[in-house]
């Protein structure tokens, strides 16, 4: 796959980040290397001085939005945003295409989250400034995947690791993107999910087609001793007909100190957050718990992304 380029009206090649599938391994490594330099404070604090980032979030977000804004501020730039969907012109029926054309005139880059799949790709088609996808429906969320990879890389090399994906693997976009990215590194995948929330067959075929070994488990306890990374995703209550069946399922997929008793010593637990019941708070103090580091890593990784598209 290729990074997606387009010539903007200013005559410059505009670079967008829409999908992790647009990156090859070399491009991911380069971006993560830059994030590492930023993390070590080896960066120009005025690199984006005078630049403006527009954050267009048509869905709720805490971490992604704040970390993009924090990243922009740390690079010396500023951010603009619409307060809420109700407060913007789309509430009056304006198309997304028109919105991004207009916002392109106000800002030097756009970060967008939208409920419809493919919305970021559409935005990139009409914007005259770089667009970064911060989540489009059940589709892509590349900045999350990059920070997931970055967090794993802080603990181990990415090559040929064993990764368990736990929880809602059918609708969980972060799990899909991570699985695709890991296929570039020769990882083995171990999946643990409730019935009906398994990895989509099309994605499974794509991953195995790339040579990835995927093993499915009925019980989380069987998978944990086999893996280096346990990536937990939230199981959404609305996927179940009633609360009782939801609680039945979530309790069997919960990560606790007991389920981690057989984990490899170096194994790490990740979660894109917010968590609800998937991880027992007692796990927070164990050395395996890396999900708050993961969340914090959103800032250096997004700084590297902003630098990539705006410099």
């Amino acid at each position: 796959m290729h990074t997606f380029y387009r010539i903007g009206w200013r005559g410059k090649a505009t670079r967008h980040i829409i999908s992790i599938g647009d990156f090859d391994r070399r491009q991911i490594d380069r971006l993560l290397d830059n994030a590492k330099r930023i993390d070590a404070q080896k960066y120009d604090k005025n690199a984006l001085f005078g630049k403006i980032l527009a954050t267009l979030f048509f869905e709720p977000s805490t971490r992604t939005r704040m970390s993009f804004e924090a990243a922009m501020a740390r690079l010396g730039g500023t951010s603009l945003s619409v307060g809420s969907v109700e407060a913007c012109s789309m509430a009056k029926g304006e198309t997304l295409a028109d919105t991004v054309r207009v916002v392109s005139g106000y800002a030097d880059a756009i970060v967008i989250r939208h409920p419809k799949e493919g919305a970021a790709r559409l935005a990139a088609q009409f914007a005259t400034v770089p667009v970064i996808n911060a989540g489009d429906g059940a589709g892509q969320h590349p900045s999350q995947t990059l920070l997931d990879l970055y967090t794993i890389r802080q603990s181990m090399k990415l090559d040929e690791i064993n990764v368990a994906l736990v929880g809602d693997l059918r609708y969980g976009r972060t799990a899909h993107s991570l699985a695709s990215a890991l296929s570039l590194y020769g990882a083995n995948l171990h999946t643990v999910s409730p019935k009906g929330l398994e990895l989509p067959a099309s994605l499974l075929a794509e991953l195995t087609g790339k040579g990835m070994r995927v093993t499915d488990y009925n019980s989380i306890g069987d998978a944990i001793p086999e893996v280096d990374v346990i990536y937990v995703t939230r199981i959404q209550r609305e996927r179940f007909p009633d609360s009782a069946s939801y609680f039945d399922v979530t309790s069997s997929y919960r990560i606790t100190p007991e389920t981690l008793a057989n984990a490899r010593e170096h194994a790490i637990v990740l979660h894109p957050l917010p968590r609800v019941d998937e991880i027992d708070p007692r796990v927070d103090s164990l050395p395996h718990a890396k999900y708050f580091n993961q969340s914090r890593n959103g800032v250096p990784v997004r700084m590297a992304m902003l630098q990539q598209v705006m410099q």
Binding site: T95, E117, G137, A205
Partner: protein, 167 residues
């Protein structure tokens, strides 16, 4: 009953022994689409954007015996020469179709269809959550892959039954 016509029409490419029974008159000029998979003629017409309100004189023969294919469909369009782009769309549902461009009752060009790399504005994305199924000013766009048509916006794949999604 009208005179039987050579299969595929005007090009003298008849498969011998099948010359009897076709009810479709030869055309002076236009396009004959031959070797369409049996039963797909109406979908071919749909792909070409021909509706009851367009002006072309159109002849359709379905389930015609064919030595090569067992059965096939044929579509003849009077006074319209199809472009390569139009022709290649047919390949999505009938990859073995052949196109004969007719001028003054003679076949002037004869070509097969090639599956295009990209299909725009022809097929609706089945994903209800896809941005192309909204009021945005864009046409659907699919890349043609070994697994089927992949939506350029949401990556949804139409693996089979493409005709159900033709716009």
């Amino acid at each position: 009953m009208k005179r039987a016509e050579s299969e595929g029409g005007e090009g003298g490419n008849a498969e011998k022994g099948e010359n009897e029974g076709l009810l479709v008159r030869r055309i002076r000029s236009g396009t004959v689409i031959d070797h369409i998979a049996a039963g797909e003629a109406l979908n071919v017409v749909k792909i070409l954007g021909i509706t009851g309100t367009t002006t072309e004189a159109l002849s359709i023969a379905t389930n015609v015996p064919s030595g090569q294919m067992g059965k096939k469909d044929i579509v003849k369009l009077n006074n319209r020469e199809l472009s390569k782009q139009e022709v290649d769309r047919i390949a999505l549902i009938s990859p073995h179709a052949t196109i004969n461009i007719i001028r003054n009752f003679k076949v002037c060009e004869k070509k097969g269809v090639e599956i295009p790399d990209v299909v725009e504005g022809l097929v609706r994305c089945p994903n209800p959550g896809c941005i192309t199924n909204t009021n945005e000013p864009i046409a659907s766009r699919f890349s043609v892959t070994g697994k089927g048509l992949r939506c350029a916006y949401c990556d949804w794949i139409i693996g089979h039954d493409i005709t159900s999604y033709i716009l």
